[in-house]
């Protein structure tokens, strides 16, 4: 019998190790796996790579993660948020102790999708003509110039969804899906915190992410 539901966040995060590359979903507050992020800094991890659009949310959920210099590298799309400058992450970016790879959000999403879909690389028009592609491999197709981007994968993906069933099928509320759906496909171990575990299987048309992409589910109610 398939049962991907685990009892608590500690079990959910078991085995996530130092040196891991970790994709974290979320846009605004929607889809941020806040409880899982907090556990990340409870464990004695370091040398982490975070692949995340909402990088400032990490500081909000868990100041210790950057505060204790557990993160070596960040792949993101922007990090100057609307709040008070600077966050722990931003301090470490300024003093050069965190490596930062920054890229357009669509390229970021597509690289992760490629990672989950078995596509090694693709040619995108985004960022061509900007400093971001200096030194990069460019190529013309039908008179337009594209840049080669490679797939992104990770050891772990952390997501938040509204509902899951024991098969790991996920239902997202509102805009909760954002990067989570592709991150789940691109990671070896996908861990999801959900508002609600459904005792009955989700109806097929309500499954936004099939359970094949999910290894562990844990209930973390926000309300």
């Amino acid at each position: 019998m398939i049962n991907k539901v685990v009892g608590d966040v500690a079990q959910a995060m078991a085995g996530v190790a130092s040196g891991a590359s970790i994709m974290i979903s979320g846009f605004g507050n929607a889809g941020i796996p806040a409880a899982l992020i907090r556990v990340l800094s409870d464990n004695d991890l370091d040398n982490l790579t975070l692949i995340i659009n909402a990088i400032r949310r990490v500081d909000e959920c868990s100041p210790a993660l950057f505060g204790e210099r557990r993160v070596a590298r960040v792949i993101s799309t922007s990090f100057r948020g609307p709040d008070a400058w600077p966050s722990n992450f931003e301090r470490q970016w300024m003093d050069g102790t965190v490596a930062l790879e920054i890229q357009p959000q669509g390229t970021f999403a597509e690289r992760i999708r490629a990672g989950g879909a078995g596509i090694a690389a693709f040619y995108t028009p985004t960022a061509v003509g900007t400093p971001l592609v200096e030194g990069r491999e460019l190529r013309d197709f039908d008179g337009q110039t594209y840049v080669l981007e490679t797939a992104l994968t990770a050891d772990v993906a952390l997501l938040r969804a509204q509902k899951a069933d024991r098969f790991g099928n996920l239902f997202f509320q509102g805009t909760q899906a954002n990067f989570g759906t592709v991150m789940a496909t691109a990671a070896t171990l996908t861990i999801v915190e959900v508002e609600e575990i459904s005792d009955v299987p989700l109806p097929p048309k309500q499954v936004h992410l099939p359970g094949i992409y999910v290894q562990r589910v844990v209930q973390v109610s926000r309300s």
Binding site: N29, T77, P104, I112, G129, V182
Partner: protein, 235 residues
């Protein structure tokens, strides 16, 4: 061009809301439109009510509605500015990969973006003003500027120290080359065509000479160049 005062003395520059209002008047019925952070997103408040416009939010909404009323917010339904929003009738929701496939694939009619600089060849710079201790803010802007069928910019005509933002060549890093079609400033509405700016509307009281002085790029005036008049609007 010598730096000017930030705002003209003999004419009343538009407010943020008035610039957004003016940009909104050019959104046609049935358009699919992405509004960037800041002034662009204000435009949704001012589009003529009889027009059906689908606002796209790059975190996965096509059909963003008004901000949620207090007590009726869904904390998981946010737009690209992290605002708690509602959905309009006929809206759809999808994930980020699908959202950027829509953007990159050229399906959006118009994107309205903020910018630091726009060049006369349509180049736009809006993600990194090279300020010390200020990180870059790329987000979805490069995808939007490259992918949308039309790129409209809302920005003040001059910087705080009076320098031009409409320039012959961008000095800040580009967001995308050669894509801007129209610029809405606090002084004028300008098309970008054939390597120059063409003023289509100018605020009352501002002379063509002063607009030219405040623009550091080739500037022409449309044959039917008219007054840019916006209603009074509350912030």
């Amino acid at each position: 061009m010598t730096p000017q005062n930030a705002k003209p003395k003999n004419a009343k520059a538009l407010s943020r809301e008035q610039m957004a209002w003016r940009a909104a008047q050019d959104l046609p019925d049935g358009a699919y439109v992405n509004l960037g952070l800041g002034m662009p997103v204000l435009a949704a408040n001012y589009a003529p009510g009889e027009r059906e416009i689908f606002y796209h939010s790059e975190n996965g909404i096509l059909g963003v509605g008004p901000a949620a009323k207090p007590g009726q917010e869904d904390p998981e339904l946010v737009d690209a500015g992290s605002r708690l929003v509602t959905l309009r009738s006929g809206a759809a929701i999808f994930d980020s990969a699908a959202s950027f496939a829509m953007i990159r694939g050229g399906h959006l009619d118009i994107t309205i973006l903020g910018a630091y600089q726009v060049a006369a060849n349509g180049d736009v710079a809006n993600w990194d003003a090279l300020m010390p201790n200020k990180g870059p803010l790329i987000g979805g802007a490069m995808d939007l500027a490259k992918g949308a069928k039309a790129v409209h910019i809302i920005m003040r005509h001059n910087t705080k120290d009076g320098s031009a933002r409409l320039v012959a060549e961008c000095t800040y890093p580009l967001t995308t080359p050669g894509k801007v079609n129209r610029v809405y400033t606090d002084l004028a509405v300008l098309d970008v065509k054939a390597g120059q700016f063409i003023a289509r509307e100018i605020i009352p009281g501002l002379s063509r000479d002063e607009l030219t002085a405040r623009t550091d790029a080739p500037l022409a005036f449309a044959d039917d160049c008219s007054e840019l008049v916006a209603p009074e609007l509350r912030a």
